[in-house]
Structures are given as structure tokens and as C-alpha cells.
Symmetry: C2
Subunit: 390 residues, 2 copies
């Protein structure tokens, strides 16, 4: 069900004392081979955390033997000391697992601007490596422990898997409950497969998959400094995967994880799908959907179960997509409240009691479509994010 669903991978999640709660906070995922091919997408934020700066160097040759991930601190804007902490963590993993530090990706998540405790990290690495050596590290339980160790404000571990009739498997885990915005990435995600694919093919598949999944999830418009999506191939199945079929399976796994992230977004009471149809280009459909997903007024209205479609159009109007402002239709949860820029069905007919909300925007400007996933703006969102670091 998780990063251990595909054969050739070992995982562990342990409590290293980085989280004040004493819960699991350090995970290792090891690729046991025979292949060690990998691809990644990192945040497009220019203020990148030290683990991202390190991992970008690791990816220069497309080889990854292991990934170490910690919650309890982002190790971002922590200067040269912080970079040394990341480097030393990779060295500790390399020593314990008998691999090269230059093949170890590091991911961190938590508060920006605080130094991580290197002693706790290396002790955690020791414990996680011991768990991997114990022999049970390919189990579902081990995968779940790793998924739990990367949780921050997440209330649930996020896992997904897809088994291909061709004989290979894709599985993954994700963490993220806020700061979900297209970057790429916007969260920590590790995906594994036992299919036979080289790093170039993995890169192609990963970019295709993330473009239409994680990159269309925009919970609160904020982009993290630490986001990393990694895809590792062990080749254990011995089956050379068809790239299109693999991309489709990978996309399904990414979509499942993205939907789990949306469903667990901080403080949200509605999961909103903004579907833009008949756009002139797909990019314009994305731009329009994203503009609506970033309207605090629209998102607060949905929280209040108020189908305030004027706020949808006010957000659409801020974009430069091709459309006639007075030729747009809007439907909310199946009720067409606006036709060609005029009121249609009464807004009272819209039932916003369910958690799932569907906003359909027809631009009548072409034949392209895109769906952006977002959440409502709630009291709990404000509460969680006003008290996070204190």
C-alpha cells in the first residue's frame, strides 16, 4: 500500500525526539536494487531549504540509494550550519546502510529558521537503519511507520499503490496538510517502483504525472521551501515497463496522494474542485482555476455554505485568459447559477452541506479543460496557522 508495495525497497520510521510530542519523526526508504535509478521534482521556490540544495546535487547523476526524511524542522534559512547538518545526516545514512552519501536524498519539514539537532538526527538514523536491518522493513507496517514519521500537522498518513498486470508495482507516501501550492511538488512525497526504467524515463513520467496532480492542488496559495517529490526504481520485477502505461499508473498514484492531501488540508471543511472547461488553452484553464482557488472571499463564502458565484467571476476577471466576460457560465454542485454572465437558477438551490464542492466554469473560448483542487478558508485554518510556531 505504500513505499514498500513495490519489491526491492525497505522502509523504517522511528521517533528521534525532533517532535516535542515524542511521535515518529524520522524515516528512511532504501532502494535495495538491482537498479538505483531515480527522478525528483523540487519546489520552484527560490528560497530553497538546505535539504533541497543538497538533494539537487545528489540528483546530478540520477542515482539514489536511499532517502532520509525528518519532520520537526525544515532546516531552511539556517545557513552553513544547517547545510552541514543535512550533509552529516546523509553521511550517517550512508555509513549505516553501506551506500555513498552522494546517493542519499535528504528531506526535512517543519518550522523555518531553527537549527535541527544533529545528535538526535544521527541517533534516529541509527535506529532506522537497525529497523531496516531487522528484516521486516519491506512490510506494510514498515511502510506505514515511514509515512507516519513524515507527518507534521497531518492528521492521517497518506499512502497509495498501483499493481500493474504487466508485473510491476508503483507505491508511494506523502505528507502535507497546508502550504500546498503548485511549485512543483508542494509537499514531501516518496514513490517507489520495481519496474525496469532508467532515470531519464522516470523523469519524463514524473514530470507528466505531477503536472496534472500535485501541480493542480492549491490549498492556500502558499509555496513551501522544502517540497520534494522523489521516484525511485529498483528494477526488482525484471519487467521493462511501457512508459505510457507506467506514466498512467504513476499519475493514478499521484492523484490519490494529492486527493488525500486535499482531504487533510489544515482546518478545511470543504474539498473544492474547480473545473474550468472550454478554455482556449489548457494553461489558461489552469490560470483561471487557480485564480478562483486563491480568492479568500470565494473560499470564505464556501466555508459559510454560501454559493456566492459573483466572487467566482470576480476572480476569473483578474486573469488574462481568452473569454468574453459576459459569456461565462458558472454551476456550483450541479446548479447553474450563472448563464452568459446573468443570474440563472436561484442560489438557494445550491446545497453546500456536503464536504465535496464542484465549481464548473465554462469559458466558451475553446475546448481545453483543467481542474484545480483547493479548500475553503475556515476559522480552523486561521487558528492552526496563527499558532503553528508558538
Amino acid at each position: 500500500m505504500s513505499v514498500t508495495a513495490a519489491s526491492g525497497f525497505a522502509a523504517a520510521g522511528v521517533a528521534a525526539g525532533l517532535k516535542s510530542t515524542g511521535k515518529r519523526d524520522l524515516a528512511i526508504v532504501q532502494n535495495l536494487g538491482p537498479l538505483t535509478a531515480a527522478a525528483t521534482v523540487f519546489t520552484t521556490n527560490r528560497c530553497k531549504a538546505n535539504p533541497v540544495l543538497w538533494s539537487e546535487q545528489v540528483m546530478s547523476d540520477g542515482v539514489v540509494s536511499a532517502i532520509v526524511l525528518n519532520s520537526g524542522g525544515a532546516n531552511c534559512y539556517t545557513g552553513s550550519q544547517g547545510f552541514q547538518t543535512t550533509h552529516a545526516t546523509a553521511e550517517a545514512v550512508a555509513e549505516r546502510l553501506g551506500v555513498s552519501a552522494g546517493d542519499v536524498i535528504v528531506c526535512s519539514t517543519g518550522l523555518i529558521g531553527d537549527q535541527l539537532d544533529l545528535g538526535k538526527l544521527t541517533a534516529g538514523v541509527r535506529d532506522a537503519a537497525a529497523a531496516i536491518a531487522s528484516g521486516d522493513a519491506g512490510s506494510d507496517d514498515a511502510g506505514l511507520a515511514a509515512a507516519e514519521a513524515i507527518m507534521t500537522t497531518d492528521t492521517r498518513a497518506k499512502q497509495a499503490a498501483h499493481v500493474s498486470p504487466a508485473g510491476w508495482t508503483v507505491g508511494g507516501m506523502a505528507k502535507g496538510a497546508g502550504m500546498l501550492a503548485p511549485g512543483l511538488a508542494t509537499m514531501l512525497v516518496v514513490i517507489t517502483t520495481d519496474a525496469v526504467l532508467d532515470s531519464e524515463q522516470l523523469d519524463t513520467a514524473l514530470r507528466r504525472a505531477t503536472r496534472v496532480t500535485f501541480d493542480r492542488l492549491d490549498s492556500d496559495g502558499c509555496m513551501s521551501t522544502n517540497d520534494t517529490v522523489s521516484l525511485l526504481a529498483s528494477g526488482t520485477s525484471g519487467v521493462v515497463a511501457d512508459l505510457d502505461e507506467f506514466t498512467a499508473a504513476l499519475t493514478a498514484v499521484c492523484r490519490s496522494l494529492a486527493e488525500q492531501l486535499q482531504a487533510d488540508a489544515e482546518g478545511a471543511s470543504h474539498d473544492i474542485a474547480i473545473e474550468v472547461v472550454n478554455a482556449f488553452t489548457e494553461d489558461e484553464a489552469v490560470v483561471v482555476g487557480r485564480a478562483v482557488s486563491r480568492s479568500n472571499l470565494f473560499k470564505a463564502a464556501i466555508f459559510g455554505n454560501d454559493p456566492n458565484w459573483g466572487r467566482v467571476l470576480a476572480a476569473v476577471g483578474t486573469t488574462d485568459a481568452v473569454f468574453d466576460p459576459y459569456g461565462i457560465d458558472v454551476a456550483i454542485n450541479g446548479v447553474q447559477v450563472c448563464t452568459a454572465g446573468e443570474p440563472d437558477q436561484p442560489r438557494d438551490l445550491v446545497d453546500l452541506a456536503p464536504r465535496a464542492v464542484h465549481v464548473l466554469i465554462d469559458l466558451h473560448a475553446g475546448d481545453q479543460t483543467a481542474t484545480i483542487l483547493t479548500n475553503d478558508l475556515t476559522h480552523d485554518y486561521v487558528h492552526e496557522n496563527s499558532a503553528y510556531s508558538s
Copy 2:
């Protein structure tokens, strides 16, 4: 103190029954001449309300005899019936005041998608015209009544004035408590002057003034469909104003009104000034400041009195301005919490108890600067905007 501070103007504010509360909801400002020169800036939102579509036509010749403004409904996305309502309102004003309908600007504010009651509007126009005819319409009281009539969720009327030693005066009123974002405009504003200036000069001065005032106020990132800033000149003083001096006075009036709008933003508990210094260009300083002003995570942290400077840098990093991501300094309320991308003074030293918050971002990339005004993201913001139309 208001639109009646300059000579040659009459104002009135009456209750027309458009607001369910029974409060004042319709205002007229008449330019008594001898000049009827005017300039306006409208929302850049492409989904423009009917009053904006009408008023853009009125402005084709730069002549405005009167402005009629109503709260209680935006008359946006109300189709041809809505446009007819706007047209008929202008005709009613023209008939009552003895001017041309083509010289009457109409402004509306309130919920999008509902038709306005034309009968109430025309009765309100009748009453307001009668008040103007009564002879007291140039008083401070008349100006205040007009300023009150355009309030929606505003808790206070907003007025400002500047008297020049050269013998002319600028005065104005504004409404706006949410949906304040650069557009231009982002609110309803009427400014009057008795200086002698033609419409081209007024346009130059108004664009210069709004660019550094209303256009740098970004309360919640949302842009209205109805925003209009109007500047009317009566020439009554007989003094030909120096354009630079006039622009400076106009800018001071606009800045005062912008600060009043910020101070009254819906649900806000902090007024935040984001000052970006040493940017490569002024535009980049604006882009960086605006990115921070639109970060819900940053705004929620300020609500929680949490000087979470990592969220400042995470927002800065989403822009493509010129800077070294590891060469940025951040100070909050005078405490330098980040120097060259590393933690400096402890965040606990920052006192966020006062309503005024100053965030100083030094990009070390040039010598340009800009300040963006915004507010925090609060429970009350969510509450007000989740219940507005119901």
C-alpha cells in the same frame, strides 16, 4: 473635510431603502462649475459591473457634472436589465439636476448578481436632489452624509482634505473595507477640487497619485468588479494649480484615504506595512511586497502575534525579482530576525501586540523601494466574509 471641502461642489446622502438596515445608501456629488473637468481610474478586473461599463462611456469626453453612488447592490452580472437600471439612474439624476445624463457617473457597491430596485433608486435620487437644492449641500454635514451613504461593511466614514496655500483645496471620500487589491482603484472614491485644471492634467495627477497609494493597498488580494476613483474639478478658486504641487496634495489625500481603508479592513486586528528596500527596480519592490501581503500563512501568523519570518522569505522566494535568496535581511517591528538568510535576533524579542506592524525586507539588489499596506488574516475576516450575502 470631504467632497465638499473644495468650493463649487454640492453633496447629499439619503436612505433609499436599498440597505435592509434602513441606513443611508444613496449619494450624489454635483460639480457646480464653472469647470466640469474630470478624471477616473476604474478596476482592471475584466468582469466589470454595469455602472463601470456605463461610466467608462461617460468619461470619453472628460466631462462629469455629477456622480451618483449607491450601496446595497453592485449591479454586476445583472445583464441588460442591470445596464438599463444604471442608465435610468443617470437619466433620473440628469433630469433632477438639469444636466446631461452622458455627464453622470454611476457607482454601485454590494452583492454581485442581484438586480437593484430601480424604483427605490429613482426615489432616492429625487430625495438627494431635493437635499442639494435645499442650499446646505456644500457643508461638512452634507459631505459626511454622502460618505456615510456609500458605506457597506465599513464601520466608519472615510474623508480627507488638503488646503493649499496657493488658494485651492482637494477633498475626498472613500468606501471600502474588504476586497482591497490593486486594480487600479479597489474601492469607491470621489475626490473634488476647486483648482483650475483640465481633464488631461487631472488624469495625469490621478494616475500618479493612485499608483503609490490605493494601488499599494492589498488587504486580501481580491479585486472588485466595481472599483472607481473619480476626481472632479470645479475651477471655482480661479487659481491655476501647479501640476506637481497639485499631484503632491492629491497624493496626500489619497494616502490618507488608503490608510483609513486599511485601518477599517474587515475583521483585521493588525495594519501591516511591508517595506521592501534596495530592490533592483521599483516594480520588483512592489512585486515582492505584494507576494508577502498575499501569503495567508504570513497573515495568519501576524494575527497570532507570531513573528514567523520564515513565511516572509517563503513568499519572497515565489517571485522572480532580482536578489540572492541567501542575502536577504528581514526585520519585524525593528527587530532584525534574519540577516543574509540566517537567523539573527531571537523572534521572541518582536512585540506584535500593537496594531501597527512594520516588516522591512532588504533585498540588497539595488536602490529602489516600495511599501505595500495589508492586514492580518483573522477569525473575524473569515466570519464576515462567510456570512456576507446570506
